[in-house]
Symmetry: D2
Subunit: 337 residues, 4 copies
């Protein structure tokens, strides 16, 4: 970390700062120039609060040299991490497709979709039981009974299940969920992340709507610092000024993440735009960018399931997407299970 | 709500949509033009998921006419709401200053600051016990024992206390907190909001980093829909592309909110920029924009409390800010207690 | 266009508004509800200033039903436009690669790169002569003499040339440039756009850093309204809060543009991130998303050309990118010349 | 400038980099740590392209220590610059109000408004002759004949005039304009900025919609590097994700600019929101934040001038705004002429 001190500052205050830095167990390297004094911090700066130093009156600027994340950092773990979700591997040369309905609605619906997506090549079943909704008046999901329906579909098809957890108080109710999804709105729900870090279950960590890549990795770090190393990152679109799409899918985050971290990265092409007709092009784009997998919404009966029919594909469209992906995978040195 | 249907669409799909709309208890007004068919939805559309309709293939665009929030809507509640926090009123002609340390560190620290800010004109004491931190390696606050220190300061000074709650599991531990603060990162922690809606305690709801004004009001609506009408909104900066400030304080949100909602609105000038030297100008700017109050960080001993000294004012600087505010208040028809 | 009037408004002011609307040659359809009056504007609303109506005190909200762009609108021109750049076609089933150095530096450099990229499959040569630079102290390009060097490379290789124009005063100097590039910073330089609209030369219109898709199409409309229909759109990244990449490439803009407009769309994968190692993944992602071409920076001698070596590929890396693209093109029903 | 080199890099490439740096006339300070090599650049780094260095494969990160702007930098010019606009001073303890119609429409209109705003306290007359419009179909201003009308108003009232220039080709036509306004869309029209730098006329430089404060100062630097030191900065809102206001006024930019530069800073409260009812609160907020002046739209006849009546105040509302400002000015140590 490099701290630049303003010109002509009170020596006492600079000394206070350097004393505080050394009290944190860090070394100091000072270089005094004509216009500025530069303090280099030597040692592990991951616990140093950069905003705090930046806010001091004597400080002109602060820059990190070292990343604040450790467990998630590729520097200290050069090989790709492979996360095993009940027999299906994410990372390195593996490519997995998670698919299923937006919301779990009935046994008939979820089982039918599960069979359809499995036949098409999906290896893990997704389905929303607890639904985070902007409006308190909107349908909030079937909640606990939705979990029961996912269990039935799992028993019927043998597919592991992936569903979203919105509060640490539901952890027990999720006992046989195979991969816990943390939604964009909870990416910095630190109390939840800490508890998920104590589990030995894979976590699918979606990027927050306005989260930088560094903050996202710090949220992964919350889980990993508590001992759970099985984190899969999921890009799902960030908030920008563009109104034609609900969010802007940030695909350049994928190669950037591949440099910074050893964790697997997948993409949700359904939610970013909110438009089902963008799922195919954005799925192919995600594969091209180097994603380790996709999570795609599929619904069964467009005539009756309006709610479902929104950003979801019909099974035959999903089959077509998977076929196109299969043509591309050798280009990026990956293969589906 | 106005739904525009694309040209030459399948009649069956349009019928599915109109049937679904009427099944929600809404009326329909169709008008067929040369290039487009327009469907007007008549009735209470607050439960209708606009993203869902937008995502249908037959739909070109959807626009809300009615706001999706009701309890928070000034249309249905034209008079300003006054929220009473243990004897201190927010809203209408009242102006309140909440002040105190960023983090509660010791009895000596919090009691000294409480006395100082009370003497200067603050009516409510703030102090962080549970701290949301981007890094798992950063200090997470004194937590439950921090609450105990706030209780001591309350007993010593008679000031009501305001502190942040990060999970619904701590509600019992907050039994004698006078106003529960919901931080920016938890603005859409819906499980937390629902539980706070069941309390009869004032809630200070900070705006999320990337939350639109409408989403912010919908989060207030979560609390109010569960019966708790005592919500105070707090603008604290939004995320933009500008790196010189940590966040961009959105002061035009204040007059906009004053039109849209009857709830009180205050501003946190300390956190948006992260720079204590911006607190005074941004406090005066907030008063000019029409805020109902401010929440300001104040620390006691700059020589020793580096951590504290960050975005916080010293007591004598705080006195100066309050004096300048007092000159301005008559201009905006407000007065301090 | 749908204008919603606030409750209980002065009839005189509403009448002023409706009179003004009819004076623009538009019809009016009024519907009075319990809480709101809705005015529908019937006819061609492309000349109506939506911001102006929105800003009236009596108006609650305004929404466009009709897009404000006409010549660029796919509704009125359903077939893909094919833009012919000196024999090379953009649009529909064609895929073109424009390649060359960031800045033109010497005859030797630009001719060598031109030969290399032509051999690898590029059909058009790019090269910066006039360089828009954030700093007045940075190299501003070889300017007119840079154009001369591009002419030499064109004569040597037979490749059409593409270079950026920064002011209408240089139009004469660009007499034999085959495609005029308008940079992101000039996307709303309307005086320049109007003059380019009078030419009969293809225009490569880059998206502004903070331009919505609609504004971008309106800038194309400026060119087309003046008679020049040969516009190619180029996505090059938008400004967001993410600091790890210089800009965020918005690839979902491609399928959205394909719905909205008949114009060809290409992608610049070099500039968005500013990192040459992202060029390959983002090129493949662009093809997957449906782009009609790419514009890629290639440099020749990494040991000496530091400036050039920045976001540019070496020729052998460029060959590898083109080979991978060729595998993907059949998937998206496209082929290179 | 601090360049961090990745671990285990090719010595040849690092040497190429250091050779290139020294060839720019800069010194080098290397420090090799366990995980990284850090290169400090010593000397004037304002000509160094930071993006170029960042994009090199061997580079992990680059951070500026020195700002890239010099003439605009308060470090090298500690005293406030006072810009004299035909007798009216901007900067230091002065506060000026520029007011007038959005668009110049007729002699009667502009002269009437000029008299009204002068009587209320405005010292400079604004009025749009050349109008930058998103749509080619919208009214583009009276252009040259609009300038003639401004001249008449200037002769009638003695007020200096301020109007927007959209291309360097109009500089001669602007011969007696007192202050040239550069609009947000042209903030990085470098060919225009260079020519304005050769004039000896004050320039009002509006912030681009997505411009960082540093880029804005670099645009001021373009003008100043060419010899024209009379630049006034004007904050007018930046683009964010919030749709309730057209743009988000960034008032914290004012105190930040006051630290970074010696140039005067004014605010345009009319355009950011596009809502005339926000002009008063945002004007007071601007004064509180430390602005050196305001530029406000005022129209004359609301019943007939719909176009004008948009984001503009009526004269009596303008009088009220000026009166409130006068109460506040002593608080910020400023006074109107």
């Amino acid at each position: 970390m490099i701290v630049v001190i303003k010109k002509n500052q009170d020596h006492k205050q600079v000394e206070n700062l350097t004393n505080w830095i050394t009290s944190l167990g860090l070394g100091i390297h000072m270089s005094e120039g004509e216009n500025t004094t530069i303090i280099g911090l030597v040692g592990d700066t991951s616990k140093v609060d950069i905003d705090l130093i930046r806010s001091l009156d004597i400080v002109e600027s602060v820059n990190r040299i070292q990343e604040p994340y450790k467990n998630a950092n590729r520097k200290f773990h050069p090989a790709d991490t492979i996360v095993n979700v009940s027999g299906h591997e994410f990372g390195e040369k593996h490519f997995q497709i998670i698919a299923g309905p937006c919301s779990v609605e009935s046994e008939e619906q979820v089982v039918a979709i599960a069979h359809a997506v499995k036949a098409a090549g999906a290896t893990i079943l997704r389905g929303g039981a607890f639904k985070p909704r902007t409006s308190p008046y909107a349908f909030q999901g079937l909640r606990e009974s939705g979990l029961d329906l996912l269990r039935i579909a799992k028993a019927e098809t043998g597919m592991p299940i992936c569903t979203e957890i919105m509060s640490e108080k539901y952890i027990d109710a999720f006992y046989d969920v195979d991969i816990f999804q943390v939604g964009a709105r909870n990416m910095q729900n630190f109390e939840l992340l800490k508890e998920l870090g104590k589990l030995r279950k894979p976590i699918l960590l979606k990027r927050g709507l306005a989260a930088t890549i560094e903050e996202w990795l710090m949220s992964a770090e919350y889980i990993m610092a508590n001992g759970n190393m099985d984190v899969i990152l999921c890009e799902r679109g960030i908030r920008t000024f563009e109104p034609y799409t609900r969010n802007t899918l940030d695909l350049s985050a994928i190669p950037i993440l591949k440099e910074r971290t050893h964790l697997p990265v997948i993409v949700d092409p359904s939610h970013a735009s909110g438009l089902s007709r963008l799922v195919k092009p954005m799925s192919l784009a995600s594969v091209g960018a180097g994603a380790d997998g996709l999570i795609i919404e599929v619904h069964n009966d467009p005539a009756h399931a309006l709610c479902d029919g929104a950003q979801s594909l019909r099974p035959e469209q999903f089959v077509d997407v998977v076929k196109s992906i299969d043509v591309m995978l050798p280009l990026v040195n990956k293969a589906r299970d």
